[in-house]
């Protein structure tokens, strides 16, 4: 791979991936996916939010830790794989880190394509792989019978099953 190609890929990844502690605007992200983009008729977006209840207990907050460097690299690999499988236009992946409260947005995946099938499939693929391969970890602040505590979330078997079905 030439240095120019590598630089181009690096530049693309920087635009497509954002790991940030601040919130994002769905409207702004959709506008960026659509701006000067007359070729793509389909825009599929997914937004993940902090739930009030998880496994039957009440969640007060969520803290997200990640592995800087590997996070961006793994997300870039997932997007590259999605581009190999489907004919897609623009991609944007945003993942928040730090402390979040109920109802806050955690993750955004936006994909455009000429026709809807590619954008739908690629969006779900990116989300499924992000769940099992991108180095993020959630720690929940829970309130059980008036007692507050913190605990790391366990990985779900159903998430690895969802990712394996794409193989």
């Amino acid at each position: 791979m030439s240095i120019d190609t590598k630089r181009h890929i690096h530049e693309m990844s920087r635009l497509e991936i954002s790991v940030q502690d601040t919130d994002f605007s769905l409207a702004d992200e959709v506008a960026l996916l659509e701006r000067d983009n007359a070729t793509d008729g389909a825009v599929v977006t997914f937004t993940g939010r902090v739930r009030e209840h998880n496994n039957g207990h009440s969640v007060r907050s969520l803290t997200l830790e990640h592995y800087p460097g590997m996070t961006e690299k793994s997300l870039a690999k997932i997007i590259t794989e999605a581009r190999k499988r489907w004919s897609i236009g623009r991609v944007k992946v945003i993942h928040r880190i730090g402390e979040l409260t109920i109802g806050e947005q955690i993750v955004f995946v936006g994909v455009t394509s000429q026709h809807r099938h590619d954008a739908f499939a690629a969006n779900e693929f990116i989300m499924d792989y992000l769940k099992v391969a991108a180095p993020f970890w959630k720690k929940e602040g829970v309130n059980q019978d008036g007692v507050c505590s913190e605990q790391w979330l366990e990985a779900k078997m159903s998430d690895s099953t969802k990712a394996t079905r794409w193989r």
């Binding site: 592995y67 460097g69 590997m70 993942h95 989300m127 391969a133 180095p135 993020f136 790391w152 366990e154």
Partner: protein, 82 residues
């Protein structure tokens, strides 16, 4: 030297986020794990947990993956993002 980093619940259990070990006699990720357990006997039950994932230079790899001087090796629990 080899840089070793830990994350999330594992980082808390070991009370360590980062350390360096000599690259002597280290060929694979499994060797790194074994060396860490030799240096800290109390880490053995924690690092011996089968569900732990490993990465070399920011790529998810198996324990058979090769490790060379200057590499960054990471150990962490299954990921829970998204």
């Amino acid at each position: 030297m080899i840089k070793v980093v830990f994350f999330a619940a594992l980082r808390e259990q070991l009370a360590c986020s980062e350390l360096s070990i000599s690259s002597d006699d280290i060929n694979t990720v499994a060797d790194v794990k074994q060396q860490l357990c030799l240096q800290n006997a109390q880490w053995q039950p924690i690092l011996g947990h089968g569900s732990l994932l490993s990465a070399v230079n920011h790529d998810l790899v198996s324990e058979k993956h090769s490790v060379k001087p200057g590499d960054e090796v990471a150990f962490f629990p299954p990921v829970t993002g998204g």
